[in-house]
Symmetry: C2
Subunit: 412 residues, 2 copies
C-alpha cells in the first residue's frame, strides 16, 4: 500500500532536521546536506535495497527486479540557502514512498526499481547547477568546474573531496546509465500557473530552452540640468523600451517568457543622463523555432531603440541551452496517472531546469509531474504546496510508475 | 584697454599650474586649490586693490571707487576632481581682466569694483555645493554642514580650519552684502544648446528650479522561467514606463528637463523578475508653475504605471530649490552687451545652479553670460570653449560692466 501521509510526515521530519528560522539549509557539499542524506539512508536501511554513491556523488537505492532494466524515480535533497521544504526533497521522498510500496509486496518486481538523489542540483554554493545529473548524462564539465570557489574561497574540488567524491572520477558516472529504461520526477512547480488554474497537478511537457544574454547600451553621460531632452543620448531610455518590448516579443507564443532581471546605470547619479546601461535578458520557450525568433526580435528591437535614442548597443552571450521535450509515450501515461489521482489533466512546460532535463538529454525516456506551488513562490522558506496536493502527487507518481513498468516490460 | 588674449593666457597658466593628466585638481579645501588662489593673489598684487577673505572663505579684490556702492564680478576657482579649465575659473579671470581695465585708467572709478572667488561652489569633496556664496546670501547651513566628511573621514569643519576658515563665523559673511549694487558672472554653458544654435554667447535668464526625488517601485520577485508574463509584478517595467514618460512630461515646456539618472534593480539577477526598482528623478524648469505641474504629472504617471504592472510606488524627496530669475534690467543690458560683442542675441535659462543664484536670492540684481561649451561636455578634462568665444565673452562682460556702472550711478 502506498502511504501518502507517511511521505508528508517524512518531508516534515526532514525539514525539522535541516531547516532553521531562515529556511532550508541543505546546501550541497555541506554538513547539513550530509545530514539530510544520512537521514535518507537510515530510512532506506529498513528496505531490501542496496545503497550506493556513484562517482559523481549521486546516491542510488536499488530494489532488484526480475529484469536488470530499471525504472528510476528521483530528484535532489539539496536546496538553496533559505530554501523551502519541497523543492527537490519531494521527488526523492515520493520516490521512497513508491519504492516502499514495491518492496512491501515481498516479491521481486518485474523490473528493477531505483530511487536517486542527484548531487548538487541547485549549484547554490559554487554556481554550477545540475552537477550530478549532468555527469550521469555525460555532460560533466570537470575542468571548468573543479576550480570554482565559494564565498570563502573554498574550491569545489576540495569541498567534494571532503564529502568523499573525487571530481576526477566524474566521467565514470556515465556507466550508471546502463539499463535505465525510464526516469520519473515529481517536483513543485515553482511558478503560479497551476494555482491560477486551480489545478493540483500538471504534466510537464519538457524544459524550455534558454537564451541568456548581457546587453549594453552606450549613450553619452551629460549634465541633467544643462542638456535639453532632444539632444540627449539616453542609454536608459533605449534600455527601458526593450524592457517593455519583451512583453510583446514573448506574447506571440503561448508559454514563452522574457525577463530583464538586472539593469545597471552609469554613472548612475541623480544629476547625469545615463551614459551606459547594462541589462540582462533571459528568454525561454519549449519550441526551438519560437526561441530563435524571440532572440532575433529582441536583438532587432534593441538596435532600433538604440538608434532612436542616439545610442549603440552590444550583446554578449551569458548562457544558452536548447529546449528538452519529454517522452511522448510517458507524457500520455503521465496524463492518465494525473487524471486518475486528481480528476484533472493539464500539460505545461517547465521554465526552470531540472535534473530530468539532463536525464532526457542522455536519451532516456523521461517525464515529470508538477504539484501546485502556493503563491508561485520558490527558493524561499515560504515555498509550499497543500498537503492534499502532495498526496495526489505521490499517488500520481505511483500510478505512473506502474504504467511505466508495464510499458518497459512490453518493450522487452 | 581690455586684454582678452592676456585673459586666455591666464587661464592656460592656471591650468598648467593646477591640472594633471586626469584634468583639473582645484578641489576646494585642498593644497591645489590654495595654490590656485595664491596664483590669483599674486596677480591681484600688481593692481591697486585690497584683497580680503570673508568669514566664509570667499576671496575678495576691491578697487575703491568714488562711491561705496559696488559692482561685483566673479565665479569660483574650485573645480571637481578631473574637471576642466573653464568651469568657474573663467568668471574669476574674466573679472580680473575687467578689473585691470578699470585700474589701468589711473583714476578712481565712479563706483567700487570688486572681483570675488567664491569658496567651494562645487561641493565636490564634502557634497555641499554653493557653500561660500550661500553663506554670503544668508543661506548657510552650518550645523548640517560642519560634520560632513570626505572619503577619508575628514570633517568639513576641520578641512576649512586648515585653510584658515572658522565655520562658526560663517553667519558674519552676510555683512559683505553691504553696498553691493549688482553681480555679474561669466560661465561656460556646460550644455550643448549654444553649440547646436551656432552661437558664441548666451544671456542667462535665471537658474531653473529643481525637484529631485527618489522613486521606488515595489513588485514581486519571481522565477524568470516559471512566471508567465501575465502573472508578473514587474517593478522594472513600471519604472521603465516612467523613464520614457518623462520625455512627454518635459516636452510640454520649452526649456524643461527631466532626468532619470539612476536605476537599481533587486534582486537584480538574470533569473528573477525584478521585485523592487529604485530610481532617481531630477526635474528642472525656470517657471515655478511648470515645475509643479511636471512634478505632479510624474507622480500621477508613476502611480498609473505601478498599477498597470501590479506594483506599488513610493516617492521620497532628495532636494528641492525654487527657480531663481535674474534681474530684468540687467537682462536687457546683458543682451545689448552680448550683441555688441558677438553680433548675436539669445536668452536661455541655466539648468545647472551657480553662485549667481545665491546672490540673486539675496535680492542683489544679478545676471550671467554663458560661453558656448564644445560638445556640451562639462565636469570633464575635455571641457572646452573656442578661444574666440572666450574673447567675445570677456568683451561682453566688460561692456556689461560699463552699462551696469552707469545704471547703478543713475539709481543713485
Amino acid at each position: 500500500m502506498l502511504e501518502p501521509q507517511r511521505m508528508i510526515q517524512d518531508l516534515i521530519d526532514l525539514r525539522t532536521l535541516t531547516a532553521n528560522e531562515d529556511g532550508g539549509q541543505r546546501v550541497a557539499w555541506t554538513p547539513v546536506w550530509l545530514k539530510a542524506r544520512q537521514w535518507f539512508k537510515d530510512h532506506l536501511a529498513e528496505l531490501p535495497v542496496t545503497v550506493e554513491q556513484d562517482p559523481a556523488g549521486n546516491l542510488w537505492a536499488t530494489l532488484p527486479g526480475e529484469s536488470d532494466v530499471s525504472l528510476v524515480m528521483g530528484s535532489h535533497l539539496d536546496c538553496v540557502p533559505g530554501g523551502g521544504w519541497l523543492d527537490g526533497c519531494l521527488g526523492v521522498i515520493a520516490g521512497l514512498a513508491v519504492l516502499r510500496r514495491f518492496a512491501a509486496t515481498g516479491t521481486k518486481p518485474p523490473i528493477t526499481i531505483k530511487v536517486v538523489d542527484w548531487a548538487d542540483e541547485e549549484g547554490a554554493r559554487f554556481g554550477r547547477s545540475l552537477l550530478g545529473s549532468a555527469a550521469f548524462a555525460g555532460n560533466h564539465s570537470v575542468e571548468a568546474d573543479r576550480g570554482r570557489t565559494d564565498r570563502e574561497g573554498i574550491r569545489l574540488e576540495d569541498a567534494m573531496r571532503a564529502c568523499g567524491v573525487d571530481i576526477n572520477r566524474f566521467p565514470e558516472a556515465e556507466k550508471w546509465r546502463k539499463n535505465v529504461g525510464a526516469y520519473l520526477e515529481l517536483h513543485i512547480e515553482q511558478g503560479p500557473v497551476l494555482e491560477q488554474m486551480n489545478l493540483p497537478l500538471g504534466v510537464v511537457t519538457g524544459t524550455k530552452g534558454v537564451e541568456r544574454h548581457g546587453i549594453t547600451f552606450f549613450g553619452q553621460a551629460a549634465h541633467s540640468g544643462a542638456t535639453p531632452m532632444g539632444l540627449r543620448h539616453d542609454a536608459l531610455a533605449a534600455c527601458a523600451k526593450l524592457s517593455l518590448e519583451i512583453y510583446n516579443i514573448a506574447g506571440k507564443h503561448k508559454d514563452a517568457v522574457c525577463t530583464m532581471g538586472s539593469v545597471k546605470t552609469f554613472p548612475g547619479i541623480v544629476t547625469a543622463v545615463v551614459g551606459r546601461c547594462e541589462a540582462t535578458l533571459d528568454q525561454r520557450d519549449l519550441d526551438p523555432g519560437n526561441l530563435a525568433q524571440m532572440y532575433s526580435e529582441a536583438q532587432a528591437a534593441s538596435k532600433q531603440f538604440a538608434t532612436e535614442h542616439g545610442c549603440t548597443v552590444e550583446w554578449a552571450p551569458i548562457w544558452t541551452i536548447e529546449p528538452i521535450p519529454f517522452d511522448p509515450a510517458l507524457l500520455d501515461f503521465c496524463e492518465e496517472a494525473v487524471f486518475d489521482a486528481s480528476g484533472t489533466r493539464h500539460r505545461l512546460p517547465s521554465g526552470p531546469l531540472h535534473d530530468a532535463a539532463e536525464v532526457a538529454r542522455a536519451g532516456i525516456p523521461t517525464v515529470m509531474i508538477f504539484t501546485q506551488s502556493l503563491r508561485g513562490i520558490s527558493h524561499n522558506k515560504i515555498e509550499d504546496t497543500r498537503h492534499e496536493h502532495l498526496a495526489q502527487g505521490v499517488i500520481a507518481l505511483d500510478k505512473l510508475a506502474d504504467k511505466t513498468v508495464a510499458w518497459l516490460l512490453a518493450k522487452g
